[in-house]
Symmetry: C2
Amino acid sequence: MAAEPKIVTAALIIIGNEILSGRTKDKNMGFIAERLTELGVRMMEARVVADIEAEIVDAVNSLRARYDYVFTTGGIGPTHDDITADAIAKAFGVGISEHPDAVALLSARYRNPADFTAARRRMTRVPHGGVLVENPVSTAPGFRVENVYVFAGIPVVMQAMFESIAHELVGGDPLLSRAVSAYLPEGVIAAPLAEIEKAHPGIEAGSYPFQRDGRFGSSLVLRSTDAALLDRATDALKSMIVELGGEPMEV
Amino acid sequence: MAAEPKIVTAALIIIGNEILSGRTKDKNMGFIAERLTELGVRMMEARVVADIEAEIVDAVNSLRARYDYVFTTGGIGPTHDDITADAIAKAFGVGISEHPDAVALLSARYRNPADFTAARRRMTRVPHGGVLVENPVSTAPGFRVENVYVFAGIPVVMQAMFESIAHELVGGDPLLSRAVSAYLPEGVIAAPLAEIEKAHPGIEAGSYPFQRDGRFGSSLVLRSTDAALLDRATDALKSMIVELGGEPMEV
């Protein structure tokens, strides 16, 4: 009997009116979701919220209590609508002020004091107790307060920030997956797939319909933390597809 | 003095483990956000939740009370992990059963009774009080209960469902926008932009940094329901960019 798998969870908060209006298409959720899966952390929920302090505070406080890690993207730039740092301070009930290490980093980047504008100084403000997150792309750092990581919204900067802290995330048992697809509609596959899941406790089965070249098919994904169990269930799934007259294609 | 603009709001709930694991990249949020903006409806919040009934119920109930419209995508197919219809029924505290019009639609599509499998019959289940939403792509309908629209997750199907109900959405005054970009960093633009916003009450100003060909720039977006005010503020914004030594590019 295998031990209970260790589950580590996370949530994501995407901050920004531009995502909600459709002007900017979010590219951060997919990246963070994939990287967390690789690191053995399960993203359980994601929210997109407006540039409104109370909304950010509510989202941070409801999610940081429920999940092991929370990540935020967006709203840490120099402009007046960049309110994430203040919202995080409010969520934790702590003060906020210029972090000396952040001031040092930006002073070094903007050597001419005239370039180190008041707006840029805003980017050195970190909630008390916060630890800087390195930004190798454009210097102005992110930060972490307890289990909440605060990243920039520009994908290239966000990704660099994520990678600079990826080593400190403690993952659980990785959730392994095997995907098999077939040109069989979900309506035919649904019942036998549920049987396979029932016959293999510890397996989660998912079914994702697709349309390709005008034909409908299903991508069937089995997930488990137990590799041997996953192999057995995948074999059963392939046999099931053949019995239904389909051709299993492993992805 | 212009009348107070009429604001109509919406929220989106994306349902599906495959989005949270990063296996599937969501394409529905951007589409719905853009279409709602065109229709004069403001998306205020979006959430991605797992295929867990209690999570869906919580999200539906907290958002349908706060916003004029709620849209959900995903989880209305034939498989055992398609639990959206049941979750919506539970959220509204109503029963759920096969909707005769949905049964008629699918019976006509699957003329051979052997093809009208039990799994496919599940797709005819609609919470009591629900009204069908047409699916011209693959027949199985979505539905609406009060202010909650329930759509499929496959983008081509979701988009067709959205268009089949778009005419019944009552939009507010459309939020007009003008975007001007320049190769000036946000740290330089931030303070003057805040001044422009302050000098033009009724204007919301947003600043979105970008990186292109290794140069940092800012895309500045002004929004208002008042077209004349928006023109005046845009002129002021362009002058400001020129004063800062930049070249305004209208997008």
